[in-house]
Symmetry: C2
Subunit: 202 residues, 2 copies
DNA sequence: TCGTCGATGACATGTCGTGTCATCGTACAG
DNA sequence: CTGTACGATGACACGACATGTCATCGACGA
Protein backbone atom coordinates (compact mmCIF):
# COMPACT_ATOMS: atom_id res chain seq x y z
CA UNK A 1 0.00 0.00 0.00
CA UNK A 2 3.01 2.33 0.40
CA UNK A 3 4.89 3.51 -2.64
CA UNK A 4 8.60 4.06 -2.62
CA UNK A 5 9.87 7.12 -4.40
CA UNK A 6 13.17 6.63 -6.14
CA UNK A 7 15.14 9.44 -7.63
CA UNK A 8 17.86 8.83 -10.14
CA UNK A 9 20.69 11.25 -10.66
CA UNK A 10 22.67 11.74 -13.81
CA UNK A 11 25.69 10.12 -12.32
CA UNK A 12 24.02 6.94 -11.18
CA UNK A 13 26.12 3.92 -11.17
CA UNK A 14 23.53 1.60 -12.69
CA UNK A 15 20.80 1.98 -15.24
CA UNK A 16 17.34 1.61 -13.75
CA UNK A 17 14.96 -1.33 -13.94
CA UNK A 18 17.41 -4.18 -14.19
CA UNK A 19 14.61 -6.69 -13.82
CA UNK A 20 12.56 -5.13 -16.58
CA UNK A 21 15.54 -5.05 -18.92
CA UNK A 22 16.19 -8.73 -18.21
CA UNK A 23 12.58 -9.64 -18.99
CA UNK A 24 12.65 -7.61 -22.18
CA UNK A 25 15.93 -9.07 -23.36
CA UNK A 26 14.81 -12.60 -22.56
CA UNK A 27 11.50 -12.29 -24.40
CA UNK A 28 13.25 -10.82 -27.42
CA UNK A 29 15.80 -13.60 -27.53
CA UNK A 30 13.19 -16.30 -26.96
CA UNK A 31 11.22 -15.12 -29.95
CA UNK A 32 14.34 -14.70 -32.08
CA UNK A 33 16.04 -18.01 -31.27
CA UNK A 34 13.59 -20.02 -29.27
CA UNK A 35 13.69 -20.72 -25.56
CA UNK A 36 16.09 -23.63 -25.58
CA UNK A 37 18.67 -22.00 -27.80
CA UNK A 38 18.86 -18.91 -25.64
CA UNK A 39 21.43 -18.94 -22.85
CA UNK A 40 21.38 -16.96 -19.66
CA UNK A 41 24.66 -15.17 -20.48
CA UNK A 42 23.07 -13.97 -23.73
CA UNK A 43 20.08 -12.57 -21.89
CA UNK A 44 22.26 -10.89 -19.32
CA UNK A 45 24.54 -9.43 -21.97
CA UNK A 46 21.68 -7.95 -23.95
CA UNK A 47 20.32 -6.40 -20.78
CA UNK A 48 23.77 -5.00 -20.00
CA UNK A 49 24.14 -7.12 -16.89
CA UNK A 50 26.02 -10.20 -15.78
CA UNK A 51 24.87 -13.79 -15.51
CA UNK A 52 25.09 -13.60 -11.74
CA UNK A 53 22.70 -10.69 -11.66
CA UNK A 54 20.20 -12.60 -13.76
CA UNK A 55 20.07 -15.29 -11.13
CA UNK A 56 19.56 -12.71 -8.44
CA UNK A 57 16.25 -11.78 -10.03
CA UNK A 58 15.12 -15.18 -11.28
CA UNK A 59 15.76 -18.52 -9.65
CA UNK A 60 15.56 -20.13 -13.02
CA UNK A 61 15.70 -19.33 -16.73
CA UNK A 62 12.04 -20.26 -16.95
CA UNK A 63 10.92 -17.83 -14.29
CA UNK A 64 11.36 -14.91 -16.66
CA UNK A 65 8.21 -16.04 -18.42
CA UNK A 66 6.15 -16.36 -15.24
CA UNK A 67 6.58 -12.84 -13.95
CA UNK A 68 5.88 -12.04 -10.30
CA UNK A 69 2.95 -14.31 -9.79
CA UNK A 70 0.60 -13.42 -7.00
CA UNK A 71 -2.39 -15.33 -8.30
CA UNK A 72 -2.28 -18.03 -5.58
CA UNK A 73 -2.35 -15.44 -2.80
CA UNK A 74 -5.06 -13.47 -4.51
CA UNK A 75 -7.17 -16.57 -5.08
CA UNK A 76 -6.76 -17.65 -1.47
CA UNK A 77 -7.96 -14.30 -0.24
CA UNK A 78 -10.88 -14.17 -2.63
CA UNK A 79 -12.06 -17.63 -1.61
CA UNK A 80 -11.79 -16.76 2.05
CA UNK A 81 -13.72 -13.53 1.56
CA UNK A 82 -16.55 -15.05 -0.48
CA UNK A 83 -19.98 -15.02 1.19
CA UNK A 84 -20.28 -18.01 3.51
CA UNK A 85 -23.65 -19.09 2.14
CA UNK A 86 -22.37 -19.66 -1.39
CA UNK A 87 -22.01 -23.24 -2.61
CA UNK A 88 -18.37 -24.19 -3.35
CA UNK A 89 -18.74 -24.10 -7.11
CA UNK A 90 -20.41 -20.71 -6.92
CA UNK A 91 -17.44 -19.48 -4.95
CA UNK A 92 -15.31 -20.80 -7.78
CA UNK A 93 -17.36 -18.91 -10.33
CA UNK A 94 -17.15 -15.70 -8.34
CA UNK A 95 -13.41 -15.92 -7.82
CA UNK A 96 -12.65 -16.79 -11.42
CA UNK A 97 -14.76 -13.91 -12.67
CA UNK A 98 -12.84 -11.49 -10.46
CA UNK A 99 -9.44 -12.82 -11.47
CA UNK A 100 -10.41 -12.78 -15.13
CA UNK A 101 -11.60 -9.19 -15.16
CA UNK A 102 -8.87 -7.85 -12.90
CA UNK A 103 -5.81 -9.59 -14.31
CA UNK A 104 -6.52 -10.81 -17.81
CA UNK A 105 -9.28 -8.92 -19.56
CA UNK A 106 -7.69 -6.35 -21.81
CA UNK A 107 -4.41 -8.22 -22.17
CA UNK A 108 -5.53 -10.94 -24.50
CA UNK A 109 -2.70 -10.47 -26.99
CA UNK A 110 0.05 -10.58 -24.40
CA UNK A 111 -1.52 -13.54 -22.63
CA UNK A 112 -1.83 -15.34 -25.91
CA UNK A 113 1.83 -14.82 -26.74
CA UNK A 114 2.95 -16.16 -23.39
CA UNK A 115 0.65 -19.18 -23.60
CA UNK A 116 1.98 -20.03 -27.05
CA UNK A 117 5.55 -19.76 -25.84
CA UNK A 118 4.78 -22.05 -22.92
CA UNK A 119 2.97 -24.65 -24.99
CA UNK A 120 5.90 -24.82 -27.38
CA UNK A 121 8.62 -25.59 -24.82
CA UNK A 122 8.78 -28.60 -22.55
CA UNK A 123 10.69 -26.94 -19.73
CA UNK A 124 8.11 -24.17 -19.67
CA UNK A 125 5.27 -26.68 -19.78
CA UNK A 126 6.83 -28.35 -16.74
CA UNK A 127 6.91 -25.12 -14.86
CA UNK A 128 3.43 -24.10 -15.96
CA UNK A 129 2.06 -27.44 -14.90
CA UNK A 130 3.59 -27.03 -11.49
CA UNK A 131 2.16 -23.55 -11.18
CA UNK A 132 -1.22 -25.13 -11.73
CA UNK A 133 -0.48 -27.58 -8.94
CA UNK A 134 0.53 -24.74 -6.64
CA UNK A 135 -2.76 -23.06 -7.43
CA UNK A 136 -4.67 -26.20 -6.59
CA UNK A 137 -2.90 -26.48 -3.25
CA UNK A 138 -3.63 -22.88 -2.39
CA UNK A 139 -7.28 -23.20 -3.37
CA UNK A 140 -7.59 -26.49 -1.50
CA UNK A 141 -6.26 -24.90 1.67
CA UNK A 142 -8.71 -22.04 1.30
CA UNK A 143 -11.66 -24.41 0.89
CA UNK A 144 -10.54 -26.43 3.89
CA UNK A 145 -10.62 -23.15 5.79
CA UNK A 146 -14.24 -22.74 4.72
CA UNK A 147 -15.05 -26.05 6.35
CA UNK A 148 -15.10 -28.46 3.42
CA UNK A 149 -13.89 -31.99 4.07
CA UNK A 150 -10.38 -32.81 2.85
CA UNK A 151 -11.48 -34.80 -0.17
CA UNK A 152 -14.23 -32.32 -1.01
CA UNK A 153 -11.75 -29.48 -0.78
CA UNK A 154 -9.39 -31.33 -3.10
CA UNK A 155 -12.07 -31.99 -5.67
CA UNK A 156 -13.48 -28.47 -5.62
CA UNK A 157 -10.03 -26.93 -5.85
CA UNK A 158 -9.11 -29.21 -8.74
CA UNK A 159 -12.34 -28.41 -10.51
CA UNK A 160 -11.87 -24.69 -10.01
CA UNK A 161 -8.36 -24.66 -11.40
CA UNK A 162 -9.45 -26.95 -14.20
CA UNK A 163 -12.04 -24.39 -15.26
CA UNK A 164 -9.49 -21.62 -14.96
CA UNK A 165 -6.88 -23.33 -17.11
CA UNK A 166 -9.24 -24.54 -19.77
CA UNK A 167 -10.98 -21.20 -19.98
CA UNK A 168 -7.71 -19.29 -20.04
CA UNK A 169 -6.31 -21.24 -22.96
CA UNK A 170 -9.63 -21.23 -24.76
CA UNK A 171 -9.95 -17.48 -24.36
CA UNK A 172 -6.34 -16.65 -25.19
CA UNK A 173 -5.71 -19.19 -27.91
CA UNK A 174 -9.18 -19.92 -29.27
CA UNK A 175 -10.83 -18.09 -32.12
CA UNK A 176 -13.48 -16.47 -29.99
CA UNK A 177 -13.56 -12.80 -29.25
CA UNK A 178 -15.88 -12.91 -26.23
CA UNK A 179 -14.86 -11.75 -22.77
CA UNK A 180 -13.08 -14.25 -20.55
CA UNK A 181 -15.92 -14.34 -18.03
CA UNK A 182 -18.28 -15.81 -20.55
CA UNK A 183 -15.73 -18.39 -21.58
CA UNK A 184 -15.54 -19.32 -17.91
CA UNK A 185 -19.31 -19.71 -17.77
CA UNK A 186 -19.26 -21.79 -20.94
CA UNK A 187 -16.70 -24.17 -19.47
CA UNK A 188 -18.65 -24.46 -16.25
CA UNK A 189 -21.79 -25.25 -18.20
CA UNK A 190 -19.95 -27.98 -20.05
CA UNK A 191 -18.69 -29.29 -16.76
CA UNK A 192 -22.24 -29.54 -15.50
CA UNK A 193 -23.31 -31.30 -18.66
CA UNK A 194 -20.49 -33.82 -18.66
CA UNK A 195 -20.39 -34.56 -14.98
CA UNK A 196 -20.85 -38.14 -13.93
CA UNK A 197 -24.33 -39.05 -12.90
CA UNK A 198 -24.84 -40.02 -9.32
CA UNK A 199 -25.17 -43.77 -9.30
CA UNK A 200 -28.06 -45.35 -7.43
CA UNK A 201 -26.25 -48.63 -7.04
CA UNK A 202 -24.21 -50.79 -9.36
CA UNK B 1 4.05 -58.12 -29.27
CA UNK B 2 7.31 -59.91 -30.09
CA UNK B 3 9.68 -60.83 -27.31
CA UNK B 4 13.41 -60.74 -27.72
CA UNK B 5 15.36 -63.61 -26.23
CA UNK B 6 18.73 -62.65 -24.89
CA UNK B 7 21.31 -65.16 -23.81
CA UNK B 8 24.25 -64.20 -21.67
CA UNK B 9 27.48 -66.16 -21.69
CA UNK B 10 29.98 -66.37 -18.88
CA UNK B 11 32.41 -64.17 -20.69
CA UNK B 12 30.06 -61.32 -21.36
CA UNK B 13 31.55 -57.96 -21.56
CA UNK B 14 28.88 -56.20 -19.52
CA UNK B 15 26.72 -57.14 -16.56
CA UNK B 16 23.06 -57.44 -17.53
CA UNK B 17 20.21 -55.02 -16.91
CA UNK B 18 22.11 -51.76 -16.89
CA UNK B 19 18.85 -49.83 -16.77
CA UNK B 20 17.53 -51.78 -13.84
CA UNK B 21 20.75 -51.30 -11.93
CA UNK B 22 20.60 -47.56 -12.57
CA UNK B 23 17.03 -47.35 -11.29
CA UNK B 24 17.90 -49.38 -8.20
CA UNK B 25 20.99 -47.34 -7.43
CA UNK B 26 19.12 -44.07 -7.95
CA UNK B 27 16.21 -45.02 -5.70
CA UNK B 28 18.58 -46.15 -2.99
CA UNK B 29 20.56 -42.93 -3.13
CA UNK B 30 17.44 -40.78 -3.27
CA UNK B 31 16.14 -42.35 -0.09
CA UNK B 32 19.54 -42.18 1.59
CA UNK B 33 20.47 -38.60 0.70
CA UNK B 34 17.43 -37.07 -0.92
CA UNK B 35 16.89 -36.33 -4.57
CA UNK B 36 18.69 -33.02 -4.77
CA UNK B 37 21.80 -34.14 -2.94
CA UNK B 38 22.29 -37.12 -5.21
CA UNK B 39 24.44 -36.60 -8.27
CA UNK B 40 24.32 -38.51 -11.51
CA UNK B 41 27.96 -39.64 -11.18
CA UNK B 42 27.07 -41.16 -7.80
CA UNK B 43 24.17 -43.08 -9.30
CA UNK B 44 26.27 -44.29 -12.20
CA UNK B 45 29.12 -45.31 -9.94
CA UNK B 46 26.88 -47.34 -7.64
CA UNK B 47 25.43 -49.08 -10.68
CA UNK B 48 28.94 -49.77 -11.95
CA UNK B 49 28.47 -47.57 -15.02
CA UNK B 50 29.56 -44.17 -16.24
CA UNK B 51 27.72 -40.88 -16.22
CA UNK B 52 27.45 -40.97 -19.97
CA UNK B 53 25.67 -44.29 -19.85
CA UNK B 54 23.17 -42.93 -17.36
CA UNK B 55 22.14 -40.28 -19.84
CA UNK B 56 21.77 -42.90 -22.54
CA UNK B 57 18.95 -44.46 -20.56
CA UNK B 58 17.40 -41.34 -19.05
CA UNK B 59 17.17 -37.93 -20.64
CA UNK B 60 17.16 -36.42 -17.24
CA UNK B 61 17.93 -37.19 -13.60
CA UNK B 62 14.21 -37.03 -12.89
CA UNK B 63 13.26 -39.64 -15.44
CA UNK B 64 14.57 -42.43 -13.25
CA UNK B 65 11.54 -41.96 -11.04
CA UNK B 66 9.06 -42.08 -13.90
CA UNK B 67 10.00 -45.45 -15.29
CA UNK B 68 9.05 -46.42 -18.83
CA UNK B 69 5.66 -44.87 -18.88
CA UNK B 70 3.17 -46.32 -21.28
CA UNK B 71 0.07 -45.08 -19.52
CA UNK B 72 -0.79 -42.47 -22.18
CA UNK B 73 -0.70 -45.05 -24.96
CA UNK B 74 -2.65 -47.52 -22.91
CA UNK B 75 -5.28 -44.95 -21.99
CA UNK B 76 -5.62 -43.86 -25.60
CA UNK B 77 -6.24 -47.41 -26.70
CA UNK B 78 -8.69 -48.13 -23.92
CA UNK B 79 -10.71 -45.04 -24.70
CA UNK B 80 -10.82 -45.88 -28.37
CA UNK B 81 -11.91 -49.45 -27.66
CA UNK B 82 -14.66 -48.55 -25.21
CA UNK B 83 -18.21 -49.31 -26.36
CA UNK B 84 -19.48 -46.51 -28.56
CA UNK B 85 -22.76 -46.18 -26.71
CA UNK B 86 -21.15 -45.29 -23.39
CA UNK B 87 -21.38 -41.71 -22.17
CA UNK B 88 -17.99 -40.01 -21.94
CA UNK B 89 -17.78 -40.10 -18.17
CA UNK B 90 -18.68 -43.77 -18.17
CA UNK B 91 -15.82 -44.36 -20.57
CA UNK B 92 -13.65 -42.56 -18.06
CA UNK B 93 -14.84 -44.82 -15.27
CA UNK B 94 -14.25 -47.94 -17.33
CA UNK B 95 -10.75 -46.92 -18.38
CA UNK B 96 -9.69 -45.84 -14.93
CA UNK B 97 -10.92 -49.09 -13.43
CA UNK B 98 -8.86 -51.05 -15.93
CA UNK B 99 -5.71 -49.02 -15.40
CA UNK B 100 -6.13 -49.22 -11.64
CA UNK B 101 -6.51 -52.98 -11.51
CA UNK B 102 -3.90 -53.72 -14.15
CA UNK B 103 -1.13 -51.35 -13.17
CA UNK B 104 -1.57 -50.26 -9.59
CA UNK B 105 -3.57 -52.69 -7.49
CA UNK B 106 -1.16 -54.82 -5.54
CA UNK B 107 1.65 -52.27 -5.66
CA UNK B 108 0.32 -49.82 -3.12
CA UNK B 109 3.51 -49.66 -1.08
CA UNK B 110 5.75 -48.99 -4.03
CA UNK B 111 3.35 -46.44 -5.51
CA UNK B 112 3.12 -44.72 -2.17
CA UNK B 113 6.91 -44.44 -1.88
CA UNK B 114 7.20 -42.94 -5.34
CA UNK B 115 4.36 -40.47 -4.73
CA UNK B 116 5.96 -39.32 -1.49
CA UNK B 117 9.29 -38.85 -3.22
CA UNK B 118 7.65 -36.79 -5.94
CA UNK B 119 5.64 -34.61 -3.59
CA UNK B 120 8.78 -33.82 -1.62
CA UNK B 121 10.88 -32.52 -4.53
CA UNK B 122 10.10 -29.55 -6.73
CA UNK B 123 11.89 -30.81 -9.85
CA UNK B 124 9.95 -34.05 -9.59
CA UNK B 125 6.70 -32.18 -9.03
CA UNK B 126 7.41 -30.25 -12.22
CA UNK B 127 7.90 -33.42 -14.15
CA UNK B 128 4.91 -35.14 -12.60
CA UNK B 129 2.72 -32.18 -13.39
CA UNK B 130 3.78 -32.32 -17.00
CA UNK B 131 3.10 -36.03 -17.14
CA UNK B 132 -0.41 -35.19 -16.08
CA UNK B 133 -0.63 -32.70 -18.92
CA UNK B 134 0.62 -35.30 -21.38
CA UNK B 135 -2.07 -37.63 -20.16
CA UNK B 136 -4.73 -34.99 -20.67
CA UNK B 137 -3.56 -34.39 -24.22
CA UNK B 138 -3.61 -38.07 -25.03
CA UNK B 139 -7.06 -38.54 -23.53
CA UNK B 140 -8.34 -35.43 -25.29
CA UNK B 141 -7.17 -36.73 -28.64
CA UNK B 142 -8.87 -40.05 -27.96
CA UNK B 143 -12.17 -38.38 -27.10
CA UNK B 144 -11.95 -36.21 -30.19
CA UNK B 145 -11.59 -39.45 -32.10
CA UNK B 146 -14.83 -40.61 -30.55
CA UNK B 147 -16.58 -37.60 -31.97
CA UNK B 148 -16.73 -35.21 -29.05
CA UNK B 149 -16.42 -31.51 -29.80
CA UNK B 150 -13.04 -29.92 -29.09
CA UNK B 151 -14.09 -28.18 -25.91
CA UNK B 152 -16.09 -31.19 -24.73
CA UNK B 153 -13.11 -33.42 -25.35
CA UNK B 154 -10.89 -31.08 -23.36
CA UNK B 155 -13.26 -30.97 -20.42
CA UNK B 156 -13.87 -34.71 -20.33
CA UNK B 157 -10.16 -35.46 -20.62
CA UNK B 158 -9.35 -32.99 -17.87
CA UNK B 159 -12.06 -34.45 -15.67
CA UNK B 160 -10.84 -37.96 -16.27
CA UNK B 161 -7.26 -37.23 -15.42
CA UNK B 162 -8.41 -35.18 -12.46
CA UNK B 163 -10.20 -38.22 -11.09
CA UNK B 164 -7.17 -40.39 -11.80
CA UNK B 165 -4.71 -38.13 -10.02
CA UNK B 166 -6.87 -37.40 -7.01
CA UNK B 167 -7.81 -41.05 -6.61
CA UNK B 168 -4.22 -42.21 -7.06
CA UNK B 169 -2.87 -39.97 -4.32
CA UNK B 170 -5.82 -40.65 -2.07
CA UNK B 171 -5.38 -44.39 -2.51
CA UNK B 172 -1.60 -44.41 -2.21
CA UNK B 173 -1.13 -41.74 0.44
CA UNK B 174 -4.42 -41.75 2.32
CA UNK B 175 -5.20 -43.86 5.32
CA UNK B 176 -7.76 -46.03 3.57
CA UNK B 177 -7.14 -49.62 2.78
CA UNK B 178 -9.85 -50.07 0.13
CA UNK B 179 -9.11 -51.07 -3.45
CA UNK B 180 -8.25 -48.29 -5.87
CA UNK B 181 -11.37 -48.84 -7.96
CA UNK B 182 -13.61 -47.89 -5.08
CA UNK B 183 -11.55 -44.80 -4.39
CA UNK B 184 -12.11 -43.89 -8.03
CA UNK B 185 -15.84 -44.34 -7.62
CA UNK B 186 -15.79 -42.25 -4.47
CA UNK B 187 -14.04 -39.40 -6.23
CA UNK B 188 -16.46 -39.58 -9.15
CA UNK B 189 -19.38 -39.47 -6.75
CA UNK B 190 -17.93 -36.39 -5.13
CA UNK B 191 -17.47 -34.87 -8.56
CA UNK B 192 -21.14 -35.42 -9.28
CA UNK B 193 -22.09 -33.89 -5.96
CA UNK B 194 -19.91 -30.81 -6.35
CA UNK B 195 -20.53 -30.13 -9.99
CA UNK B 196 -21.88 -26.73 -10.89
CA UNK B 197 -25.59 -26.56 -11.39
CA UNK B 198 -26.80 -25.73 -14.84
CA UNK B 199 -27.92 -22.13 -14.73
CA UNK B 200 -31.28 -21.21 -16.12
CA UNK B 201 -30.34 -17.60 -16.73
CA UNK B 202 -28.51 -15.04 -14.67
C1' DT C 1 37.95 -65.56 -40.32
C1' DC C 2 35.90 -61.52 -41.02
C1' DG C 3 32.73 -57.76 -40.80
C1' DT C 4 28.85 -55.65 -38.73
C1' DC C 5 26.26 -54.36 -34.73
C1' DG C 6 25.26 -52.79 -30.24
C1' DA C 7 26.40 -51.51 -25.60
C1' DT C 8 29.59 -49.08 -23.02
C1' DG C 9 33.74 -46.20 -21.87
C1' DA C 10 36.60 -42.04 -22.30
C1' DC C 11 37.00 -37.42 -23.13
C1' DA C 12 35.75 -32.75 -24.24
C1' DT C 13 32.66 -29.10 -24.02
C1' DG C 14 29.05 -25.90 -22.87
C1' DT C 15 25.35 -24.41 -19.90
C1' DC C 16 23.19 -24.09 -15.35
C1' DG C 17 23.04 -22.33 -10.88
C1' DT C 18 25.34 -20.82 -6.51
C1' DG C 19 28.73 -19.13 -2.99
C1' DT C 20 31.73 -15.47 -1.96
C1' DC C 21 33.97 -11.28 -1.93
C1' DA C 22 35.03 -6.78 -4.08
C1' DT C 23 33.35 -2.42 -5.80
C1' DC C 24 31.31 1.98 -5.61
C1' DG C 25 27.33 5.20 -5.77
C1' DT C 26 23.66 6.71 -2.23
C1' DA C 27 21.75 8.16 1.93
C1' DC C 28 22.05 9.52 6.28
C1' DA C 29 24.22 10.83 10.77
C1' DG C 30 27.16 13.76 13.00
C1' DC D 1 32.07 18.21 5.11
C1' DT D 2 33.21 13.76 6.41
C1' DG D 3 32.63 9.19 7.23
C1' DT D 4 30.10 5.15 7.52
C1' DA D 5 26.59 1.70 6.66
C1' DC D 6 23.89 -0.01 2.92
C1' DG D 7 22.49 -1.96 -1.30
C1' DA D 8 22.93 -3.22 -6.11
C1' DT D 9 26.02 -5.11 -9.17
C1' DG D 10 30.40 -7.16 -10.95
C1' DA D 11 34.10 -10.62 -10.90
C1' DC D 12 35.46 -15.13 -10.21
C1' DA D 13 35.44 -19.87 -9.00
C1' DC D 14 33.22 -24.14 -8.87
C1' DG D 15 30.44 -28.25 -9.07
C1' DA D 16 26.63 -30.44 -11.25
C1' DC D 17 23.96 -31.19 -15.49
C1' DA D 18 23.68 -32.61 -20.22
C1' DT D 19 25.41 -33.81 -24.80
C1' DG D 20 28.48 -34.74 -28.93
C1' DT D 21 31.94 -37.71 -30.64
C1' DC D 22 34.99 -41.34 -31.15
C1' DA D 23 37.15 -45.62 -29.39
C1' DT D 24 36.58 -50.27 -27.63
C1' DC D 25 35.35 -54.96 -27.71
C1' DG D 26 32.21 -59.06 -27.17
C1' DA D 27 28.33 -61.31 -29.80
C1' DC D 28 26.64 -63.02 -33.82
C1' DG D 29 26.07 -64.42 -38.50
C1' DA D 30 28.11 -65.24 -43.24
Amino acid sequence: MSSRVITYTETMRWAPDARGRLVGAALELFSEQGFGATTVPQIAARAGLTTRTFFRYFVDKREVVFGGDEIPERATRLIADAPAELAPMEVVRLVLHRVATDQFEGHREQTSAVRRLIHANDPLRDRDARKRDDLVRAARAAFLERGESPLQATVVAELGILVFQVALDEWALGDGAGPMVSVIDDVMALLAAESPVRRTRS
